[in-house]
């Protein structure tokens, strides 16, 4: 962008071609009032407040849409401009019903602020008093058109960032309304409940149905209750959206997207709303079982009980009779300590994350292609979806599980005309949007992918001879017969993938739960053969379950890995043994999903505030064990079958870091105080470790992070600065050096 010079209020300023006059003014600290402008959204010049005088014309222009130009001379302040702005504001106030005393947004309203700034103490125009209806049909978002100034920020963000375009206009002129789906109540519309509209709305026209007046007390209630933002990271899924947790009087009153963090600046139903539903019976004291009931006790007794009972089972049945399962929605620091206490404290290698299998199966695929010592992350990031011209979503429904990823897909489809292919035996939230939706029979994904690869190789070559030979059996007819996908659809799929320049394959649990690394390896091979892999990654994105699913795997919450994704070697085992002061047990084949209740005598279940899948079934299995410890925030079927229950904080009550699917380490920052009696999980694990013979203690969670950094050097800088992503690769790493060995993809039968 070239430099230009313009004159603002008699002062020469430097600007860049491509900027708007408003941007130039803001950069130079020159005030201009705005109401409809929002950085990052398109500019529409709707509110007319940012008007400026332009030398050479007597027309006023909206600076938000005016391109900065060399030699342009404008004035931002004058009596006439002030008079015009006041008139505009008075027209806005009189047009609809702005009753500040009963509005949830009073004290945090941009229209109100402008009224104060311009000293508006009376309205010269007669009030219209239109009778407009409040829409509270939605679970979380209320719309009050009486307070709307038609800035259309909501319309723009709903379209430009979220991609659903639920909100738009109906009618014109004085009748114009913001309307969901052309006249439906919001609760019946295509709204995906992300709340982006609510965050950008300058007034109280769109507000949080359940917590609006809580926020109001915080904004208008004086300095004691003033709302303060805590910059944090969402704990809802593995994408790691940055949040501003708004706190007042030691209570979370709202969760905002951190729109300046550099990501898409949106949240989803989970991150904005459901994460605030701190529901459930809170556990505030350790509980120990006496017969049929759980009795409250003190921490020392509880932890001593745990240490004693675990010690007893280790002596009687061996350490392999003890297992530990952790929720990867916990922080890296907690996850690291958990595996340390289990390995070095208890002496068992039976540890796993709830979704450990997903990570293992993906890793097995990568190692099959790149060799067993490769630790590097090989997938793309969420941000890379914004470059894609084709999305192939297989075995996943991001509209349900990772809505912010679904928004990235929609943005691509609507704004860049990217193509979308959905491969799923069932209909998903993206099916209707797809250019092509195929529904292969369950378990036939491998065949389908091989069929696509065959067509690709036939068209463009690019595969080694052995692989090409293997692919020949995947004729369109054979693939159609096995998968149920028509040869026509198969051809379309293959053509689309072949033609794409930046395709991204997105997979989810529909693939990983089949527990077959060859499915993922086939995807990787496909991208290699098509020539889309870069040095550092396959254009593939695996949607993991939890905030630190990747962190859990990185830090050794896996029966086959040591922290740092390291395989067990005598050297590494010794290194950790020296650091921890106790021997490190061998790897095992323990699996959180399918452990044998007869082989396991004791289980330590570290849940926090996570909700586990199929809790009742799991509780039944746990009930068969000799000794169960559950460290959780709320009473659930799982705590009810435990022998010892240890209280845990919610996500909002603790600090630490998460590692998202892109390898980025992000901070979780404590926003509110936990109830009396609840100890931080890292502190509990430290005490338990001590009771089990581990030395050392940590003054705070940062010291745990230091230890991780010392033992996993790749994490040191990331934990210290929060800037680096952790990739575990070196400069010579190149995904394209994969060996596409045909037998790795061949199944014994059926070509899977």
């Amino acid at each position: 962008m070239s430099d230009i010079t313009m004159t603002i209020d008699g002062r020469e300023v430097r600007a860049k071609q491509g900027q708007t006059v408003l941007e130039v003014c803001r950069e130079h600290g020159i005030y201009l009032p705005t109401l409809c402008h929002w950085p990052g959204l398109s500019n529409v010049g709707a509110c007319r407040l940012c008007v400026v005088e332009v030398e050479g014309t007597n027309k006023l222009g909206t600076s938000c849409t005016m391109p900065a130009a060399d030699g342009l001379k404008i004035r931002t302040q004058s009596e006439a401009l002030t008079a015009r702005r006041k008139m505009t504001l008075e027209l806005l106030f009189s047009e609809r019903n702005h009753f500040c005393p009963v509005c949830p947004e009073s004290g945090a309203c941009e229209l109100q602020d402008l009224g104060y700034r311009f000293g508006i103490d009376s309205i010269r125009y007669p009030y219209l008093f239109p009778a407009l209806s409040l829409d509270v049909s939605h679970d979380y978002i209320a719309m009050e058109p009486s307070r709307c100034v038609l800035c259309q920020r909501c319309v723009r963000i709903c379209s430009e960032r979220v991609g659903v375009s639920t909100l738009d206009f109906r009618e014109r002129g004085i009748q114009q309304m913001i309307s969901p789906d052309m006249g439906l109540p919001l609760g019946e519309s295509s709204c995906v409940s992300c709340g982006a509209c609510m965050q950008v709305c300058p007034t109280g026209a769109i507000f949080a149905k359940k917590t609006a007046y809580l926020e109001r007390a915080a904004t208008a209630g004086g300095p004691q209750s003033a709302m303060r933002p805590v910059a944090s990271t969402c704990a809802g899924c593995s994408l790691g959206c940055r949040t501003l947790v708004q706190v007042s009087n030691d209570r979370v009153v709202r969760i905002d997207a951190d729109m300046e963090a550099g990501d898409a600046g949106i949240l989803c139903r989970k991150g904005r709303f459901m994460q605030m539903e701190f529901a459930g019976e809170r556990i505030t004291q350790p509980l120990v079982r006496e017969g049929d009931t759980l009795k409250p006790t003190d921490w020392d007794t509880a932890l001593a009980t745990v240490a004693d009972r675990l010690g007893k089972i280790v002596r009687e049945r061996g350490a392999s009779a003890v297992a530990g399962i952790a929720s990867p929605a916990l922080t890296n620091e907690v996850l690291y300590l958990f595996q340390k206490v289990m390995r070095a404290g208890v002496g068992t290698g039976n540890i796993d994350a709830i979704d450990g299998r997903d990570l293992r199966v993906s890793r097995a695929a990568t190692e099959g292609l790149l060799g067993p010592d490769v630790r590097a992350k090989v997938e793309v990031r969420l941000a890379d979806l914004d470059e894609a011209d084709l999305f192939v979503v297989i075995g996943a429904d991001p509209t349900r599980t990772h809505p912010v990823a679904a928004a990235a897909i929609r943005r691509g489809v609507y704004h860049r005309r990217a193509k979308l292919i959905v491969i799923n035996p069932r209909k998903t939230g993206l099916t209707d949007l797809a250019d092509l939706a195929v529904q292969p029979k369950r378990g036939t994904d491998g065949t389908l992918l091989n069929g696509v690869m065959r067509a690709l190789v036939e068209a463009k070559g690019g595969a080694p001879a052995a692989l090409t030979a293997m692919l020949m059996q995947y004729t369109p007819e054979a693939v159609a017969a096995e998968t149920g996908v028509s040869t026509d659809e198969l051809q379309q799929l293959a053509e689309a993938y072949t033609a794409a320049r930046h395709p991204v394959l997105i997979y989810g649990r529909g693939i990983t739960k089949q527990n077959d690394p060859r499915l993922i390896a086939t995807m990787q091979a496909l991208t290699l053969v098509a020539g889309h892999a870069t040095a550092t990654s396959f254009p593939i994105l695996g949607l993991r379950r939890s905030a630190s699913s990747t962190g859990a795997f990185d830090l050794g919450v896996d029966p086959t890995r040591l922290p740092g994704r390291l395989r067990f070697t005598p050297a590494e085992a010794n290194r950790f043994a020296s650091a921890w002061g106790k021997p490190v047990p061998e790897p095992t084949s323990f699996n959180a999903n399918e452990f044998d209740p007869k082989a396991i005598g004791a289980l330590y279940l570290l849940i926090g505030d996570d909700t586990l899948p199929q809790e009742e079934e799991m509780a039944e299995r746990l009930a068969e064990l000799e000794f169960v410890v559950v460290q959780a925030t709320y009473r659930t079927p799982l705590t009810e079958v435990a022998d010892v229950v240890l209280p845990a904080p919610t996500w909002a009550e603790q600090s630490g870091t998460f590692t998202g699917i892109d390898g980025q380490v992000r901070p979780l920052r404590q926003a509110v105080t936990p109830p009396e009696g609840v100890r931080m999980p890292w502190d509990v694990l430290c005490s338990l470790g001590n009771a089990l013979g581990l030395k050392g203690s940590y003054a705070n969670v940062a010291e745990v992070a230091h230890e991780i950094g010392r033992l996993v050097p790749e994490y040191a800088e990331a934990l210290a600065t929060g800037e680096r992503a952790v990739h575990f690769r070196d400069a010579s790493f190149d995904v394209r050096r994969s060996e596409l060995r045909a037998p790795d993809y061949l199944a014994e039968s059926g070509g899977r």
């Binding site: 004290g107 309205i123 009030y127």
Partner: protein, 179 residues
């Protein structure tokens, strides 16, 4: 005594909160009483406003009585001040503008939670509800406005001081609030 400026205050369709805020001047009221004569006011309980220099009008215009009183005040005051959000903007009383008069009266006198057998009062002596509730500027010329729900004691003090100094008050900064 007769050289002191004369002040009247009145409340129309308001909750009297602005007058409570006026009372929040606390000992400042004594200073006010020294500097000006407070004539008709709900506080002094003198009903009929005489000719005054300043009249503070709280409340929106909701019924014929409000309108009559407002017009009387406008006639008799050199400076008329819209006192509080209801007088300035309509505010809460104006929220009945979205429903019909019949519904309003029904809800207010018959369907109330605390009434066993309500009746809409009728009688010639009763003021009639106006079709729409309006700010006072809808009917009369207003010389100065002091928004707030209620305006703070500081804002009121500021306004009174300005008026006593012969200036029309223009509240700004912390003194200008709509809430």
């Amino acid at each position: 005594m007769s050289d002191k400026p004369k002040i009247a205050t009145v409340w129309l369709g308001g909750c009297s909160g602005c007058h409570m805020s006026l009372l929040d001047l606390d000992e400042g009221l004594l200073d006010l009483a020294k500097a000006a004569t407070i004539t008709a006011s709900p506080i002094t309980d003198i009903k009929e406003p005489p000719e005054v220099d300043v009249c503070l009008v709280e409340g929106a215009v909701c019924n014929t009585d409000n309108l009559e009183v407002l017009r009387k005040c406008r006639e008799r005051a050199k400076i008329l001040v819209a006192f509080g959000d209801c007088a300035c903007f309509g505010n809460i009383p104006a929220m009945r503008n979205f429903i019909s008069l019949e519904e309003t009266l029904q809800r207010g006198y018959v369907d109330t939670e605390s009434t066993a057998s309500g009746e809409v009062p009728r009688g010639e002596e009763l003021p009639a509800l106006l079709e729409k509730v309006q700010p006072i500027s809808y009917y009369v010329k207003v010389d100065a406005s002091l928004p707030g729900c209620p305006p703070s004691a500081e804002a009121i003090l500021f306004a009174v001081k300005e008026l006593l100094s012969g200036r029309l008050p223009k509240p700004e900064g912390e003194l200008l609030r709509y809430d």
